[in-house]
Amino acid sequence: MKTMSASQRAAVSVIGFLFAIFALFPLLWMAISGFKAKTEVLQTPVRIFPEVWLFSNYGEILNDPAFTRAAFVTFVGALIFAAVGLWINSMAAYAFARLDFRFKGALWLYVITTMFIPGMAIMVTSFVVVTRLGMLDTMSVLIIPGMASAGSIFFIRQFYLNIPIAVEEAALIDGASRFKIYTTIFLPMSYPPFVIVGIGAFLGFWNAYIWPVMTITDESLFQISQYLAQFRSGRGSEFGLMLAGATLGALPTIGLFLVFQRYIIQGIKISGLK
């Protein structure tokens, strides 16, 4: 490795931390301003920390049944979305990676082509389809349509392709069925791609706004983004409260990321350089 003088090393570290500040500052600003009184958020001259730390903003949001319900509904929806999605997508990935069957090439092309169809192009007609299926204003309209994902299948398949044949040969000789091999050998090995794909799915569900706002009008099924958007348009002048709500809305995803960050950052390498 190159040798650097102490001052060069220090300069590099300073630039590195400037990047970190650029990334974290808006979020810290949001979280800290959530402790401010309504009039203090946009007070001049600007102060970073509140004069009095008001925990009541966070308390008030957490006591709002609409918030806790939205958070709960979104959380459960995201879990189901991610878990069932992992199951069906990994099953397809296994079939494409390890099985030989008729029309394999054509089916692969069919599945992978869907990856390149932009959501906006089919937004209106997807809405028509879910309307005809009677899915409007149910959780299923949020969970089912996006669950099968060519991108996820592609990613998991890449992982399965790299598993040596020897792994399943013994089981095949023992006469195990392919489905059994998938469940007993491949699934337990799938942790690395599952973390990445699963968290991606969870985040996509948690952060979605356009599709929920099109398909959900029943307030008891409101998603967290819908809650925040409604808060912003209705009570958007209560700045401290709004920022506290936004902070709480972001916390679960940030927490999830921090827990699994090692895998996610590794996964980026794989997905970027395929």
Partner: protein
Amino acid sequence: MKNKKRYNNGTAYLMLSPVVIMLSIFVVIPLIYAIRISFYDWSFYQDPVFVGFRNFYLVLTDDRFYTSIGVGLKFVLLVVPVQLVLAFLFAHVVRAMGRKASSFVKTSIYIPTIISGIITAIIFQIIYNFDGGVLNAIIGSFGFEKVGWLVEKQIVLFGLAIPAIWLGFGITALIMLAGLLDIPESYYEAASLEGASAIQKMFHITIPLLKNVAVYLLVTGFVGAIQQLELPLFLTNGGPSDATLLPNFYIFEHFRNDLLMGHTIAAALLLFVVLGSISAIIFRVINSEKAIDE
């Protein structure tokens, strides 16, 4: 194993069926349906009337459609090059940093990537506030005039580009870093032995070998930035006077306001043909340049 290829048709079809059925119902059928409806006057309340290419004609003679493409391209130019240059710089900085410090920095820069559009809008609405916003306070302390980030026609696209860069920087930078770390150290050592300067190393080793990563980032950056919808939706509502009328916002606005959906769908399909071609051209141009290099 035997010579005869072993087929697992039954198992395979069973394992593929959930995915294939769901993709068919929720992606392929809507696409075919969209193509069909683009030739009809159709609304949620009446029977469709065939109008041929009229919807496409209406879109192609709509000035705002071209405005949205122009705004989209300008937005891409504001976001993607800045992101790539910053990511390139970042990758070098992180490579030179100590292990602990660099993992802290890597984690930090990735966090914005997981923040939703609405939360980003809430944060930046406060940061951008004309009188009490922190951004104007910061630039004020350097002696600059206050800026109306989201209301001045000349500035507003910058106002949207900053949060877009903030949101997308993490993944761009980490992919760039991975590409940089993939270049074998021995190349640099060999170059040093030959007496190459740092700048020569950058132009003869680093940049050529990062080209694939850069093309990937350029295309994904283009596609991501041009499809931005939530920032104009939440922060500016497309204004002032269409200065932030990004393509997807144009479509979404028609979806909200039009009774007849044919126009909306025709616009959506046309846009994706146009934008798809542009990203194909970027890809071609850069790739062919690479072919000449070799």
